[in-house]
C-alpha cells in the first residue's frame, strides 16, 4: 500500500506492507536511530514522534501514519546533541542502545511539561527502559538539561 509520510520535514511516498509497523518501515528507510528491544510494546526504545507526540513506532501500523508528521532523532540532531552533551557528561549513556528513544521522550517532555518536578519527570520517562544505567544518571542529566534551558 502506498502511503504519504512526512519524515523529519521531508515528504516521502512509500510502499508498505499492510501489517508493517512503523519502526520497521523507518529502519528500512534508513532511519537507523530507531531501535527495537522488544516485541511487546514494553521498552520504549522505538520512541519517535507522530505529530509531535512520543509514540511507540513498533506498535503503530505504518498505514496508520499515512498523512502524518513523523520525527526521528535524525531530524532533531541539534537538540539531541545539546541533550547528549549533558547526558554524556553524566556518563549516563552506557551502551547507548536506549539513548535515542530516551532522548526523543526527554525532548517531548521538554515541550509538554513546564517546570516538571522529579516525580513528574520520572513518570513521563517511565516508558523508557534502560538496563545499563539504573536511571539515576539519566535523571541527573535531565534535570541539568532543564536547568540549562531555563
Amino acid at each position: 500500500m502506498l502511503i504519504n509520510l512526512s519524515i523529519n520535514g521531508k515528504d516521502v511516498r512509500i510502499d508498505v506492507a499492510k501489517d508493517e509497523f512503523l519502526a520497521d518501515t523507518l529502519r528500512a528507510q534508513g532511519f537507523l536511530s530507531v531501535k527495537k528491544a522488544c516485541d511487546t510494546s514494553c521498552c520504549g526504545l522505538c520512541t519517535i514522534w507522530i505529530d509531535g507526540k512520543p509514540t511507540l513506532s513498533c506498535s503503530v501500523l505504518s498505514i496508520r501514519a499515512d498523512g502524518k508528521k513523523l520525527t526521528t532523532i535524525e531530524g532533531l540532531q541539534q537538540e539531541a546533541a545539546e541533550f547528549a552533551e549533558v547526558l554524556t557528561a553524566e556518563g549516563a549513556e552506557q551502551c547507548g542502545f536506549c539513548s535515542p528513544g530516551f532522548t526523543m521522550t526527554v525532548l517531548a517532555m521538554k515541550s509538554e511539561l513546564k517546570n516538571p518536578s522529579d516525580d513528574e519527570i520520572v513518570h513521563y520517562l517511565t516508558g523508557n527502559l534502560c538496563r545499563c544505567t539504573g536511571y539515576m544518571g539519566q535523571l541527573r542529566a535531565v534535570k541539568k538539561y532543564l536547568e540549562v534551558l531555563a
Binding site: V34, G91, F97, Y135
Partner: protein
Amino acid sequence: MKFVGQSISKIDGMALVTGKPVYTDDIALKNALVVKLLRSPYAFAKIKSIDTSKAEQLDGVECILTYKDVPQARFTLAGQSYPEPSPYDRLILEDIVRYVGDEVAIIAAVDEKTALKAMKLIKVEYEVFEPVLDFEKAIGHTSVVHPEENLSTNFEIGLQKEKNIVASHRFEVGDVDGELAQCDVIVEETYYTQAQAHAMMETYRTFTYLDHMGRLVAISSTQVPFHIRRQLARALQIPASKIRVIKPRIGGGFGAKQTGGGDVFAALVTLKTGKPAKIIYDRQETFSCTTSRHAMRIKVKMGADKEGLIKALELQVLSDTGAYGEHASTVLGCVGEYTLPLYKAKARRITGHAVYTNKMPGGAFRGYGATQGTFAVESAVNKLAEKLGLDPAAVRLRNIVKAGDTLINYPNHPLGSSTLDQCILKGQELIGWKDKYPVRQVAPNKVRALGMAVTMQGSGIANIDTSTAEIRLNDDGNFTLLIGATDMGTGCDTILTQMAAEVLETSMEQIIVNAADTDISPYDPGSYASSTTYVAGMAVVKAAEDLKQQILAQGARYLEVSAQDAELDGNVVKTLKGDKEISLYQIAELSVLGTGRQQLVGHSTYGNEISPPPFVAGFAEVEVDLETGKAELVDYVAVVDCGTVINPSLARVQTEGGIAQGIGMALYEDVRYDQKGRMQTNSFMQYKIPCRKDIGTVRVFFESSFEPTGPFGAKSIGEVVANTPAPAIAHAVYNAVGVRVQSLPITPEKVFMGMQELARL
C-alpha cells in the same frame, strides 16, 4: 593527573545518543539473508524425522539445515580462554533436543517473512522423553540429559554425566567440622537464588559474510571476539585463520555476550551459501533460548563465638546449569572464590555440584556466582549478628579481611588494598544507621527499615587471562591504541585512552582507539570477569610506557643527547636543560621517512598471578506496607572500593546500573517455567526488569584505595556492584516486618504470607 581520575565523557557517547548507525544491525548489508531458527517445543526429545522439502521449495528460501548438515565436533558456547573449563557438550544442531527452545533447524531466506513461512512448513516428528525440570531432583534422575559418548572436557571438572552432574567442586582450609563443634552460635540456613535474565537492550545479533579472500567475517555483538573465533573454528571445523570477528558498538552485555549466541548459525549459512547472512534473536529467543544467571540452592553453615568472631564458614552449593554446561564449573567455583576469602574464619569450606536439567542453560552473568554466594553468606552473617545480639556492621568490621591480610585464594600474596572497613563506616553514616537502624514506623501502615551487606569480587582471572595492548606513533604524530578489550557500553575505550593519554602526556583527541577486530587487535580474551580496567588497563599502561621510552630515546637521538637528559613534555621532546627540542610530529615523521627507520610501537602483554578484589558495602532502606507486604526501596547507599577511580562519572553510573540489576534480582525478576518446561517469562511483559519508578534513590560513594598491582592503583568495578542489593534488601525487609525471605525474589506475597505466619505463631 590530567586524565586519570577525571570524569571524561565517553568518546563514543555523542554518536550513541544522537542515534548514529553504529550497532551490528545498522551496519549489516541490506541484502543479507535472514536466518531464523526452528526450535524445540519439547523439553527433552529425539527427532524421529524431519522433513524440510516443502519449506525448501518456497520462493526466497536459500537453505534449510538440520542436524544432518552440521559438523560433528562438540563444542561449548562459553567464551573462555583455552582450554575452556566448560564441557564440549553441544553440536550446532543435534537429533536430540534438551530444552524448550533448543535449535532444530536453521532457515535462511531473502527476508524475515519468507523465513518464518518456511519455518511453518518444516515437519518434525519427535519422540518425547521425560524431562529433568527440578534441579534438586537432577542427580540420579532416571533421565540423563547428556548420555552421549563423545561429550568431553578439557580437564577434570568433576563431570559425572550419567548422574546429570556437570561439575563438582570442593575447597577447604582448616577443619570446618572441628571449628563448628566449638562455636557458641551456629547459623544454618538454606537460600535459593533464582535464574535471572541479563535483559540487555540489544538482543544477540551477528552479521556474517565472506571477504575478498573467501574468509568468514562475523560482525558480532559479543564481549569475546577472540573466543568466538576459536568457537566458530571448532564448531564449523575450519581453521581459525579463515575467520575474522569484529565487534562494533554493543547494546549491553552483562556477561550474556560472553557466551556465543547466533554466531554459529549465521556463519554456517554463509559458509554453505557463500552469501551474507544475519541473525537477530528476538526478545523471546533472548529470554528463553540463550543463557541466564545460574539458579542455585546454597546451604550455609556459619559458626562464631559469643563475641562475634566467625570461626567457621561452610557452603554447600547446588547449581542449575540447564541443558548445556556453559560456565557451569567456574560459576560454581566462584560462589566460594568471592565469598569465603572475605571473612577471616579459621576454617572455610565449599562443596557443590552443578547439574544438568532440561531448561535453558545458565551462563555468565555479572557477579558470576559471587552474586548468588553473597546473598547466602551475607544473609547468614545478618542472622548471626541478630542471634548474637550484635550490630551486623560491627560483626563485619570484626571479621573482614584487611589490607595486608592473607587471602585464602592467594596464600603467598598479602591483600594489596582494601578500604572495606571505611566503606562500611561511611555507608552507615550516609544511610543514617545510628538513627534509623533497625526500624521505624513512618505511618500507620508503613515501616521503614535498614539492611546491609558487603561483598568482594576479583579483577580479571588470575594466571589465565592476559591482555595485550599496542600503541603506535603514527606518521603525523598522533597515536593508535590497539586493544582487544570490548567496550559494551562500559566505557573501556574511553578509560583505556585516558590511561594512555596520561602516560604519554598527550590529549584524548590525539589517540585513536581501535577495538576489537581479531584481524587487527592484539589478543585479549574480551571484557568479562571484571578484567578490563585492571588487566587490559595494565597492558595499556605498560605499552604506553614502552612507547614513551622509545619516543624519548628517538627524540634524544635527534637532539643528540642521551635519553636521560631528555624529557617528553606534551608534544615535544626537549633536553632537560631546555636548550633544544623536537616535536612529536617531527619524530613521527622522521621515524617513517627514508631508509633505516623504524615506526615506534609500544607493546605489552599483561597477566597477573592475583586478582585483587574490589569491595562494596551496600545499605538499603526499604519501606514496607504492613497491609500488603510490598517492600519499596527508598534509599540505597553503596560505598565502593575499586582502587583508584579512573573515571568517576562512568564508575558511578556503572555502580548505579549494577545496583539496579541487583534490585531487580531482589524484588522483581524471576525466570519461571511451566510444568512442561516452557519458559513463562519470555517477554518484558512477563519478566519485569526494574523500571524508573522501581529504583527509588541510589547513592554511590567511593572510598578509594590504591592497589599496588593495578594501573594507577585501580582495581575493578563491573561486577562487584551487582552483589549487595539482594542480601541488603532482604535484611531490611526482615528488620521491617520480621520475615526472612530466603528464596528470591522478595515479592509482596511472600512478605505478606510470612507476616500472616508470624501473626499465627
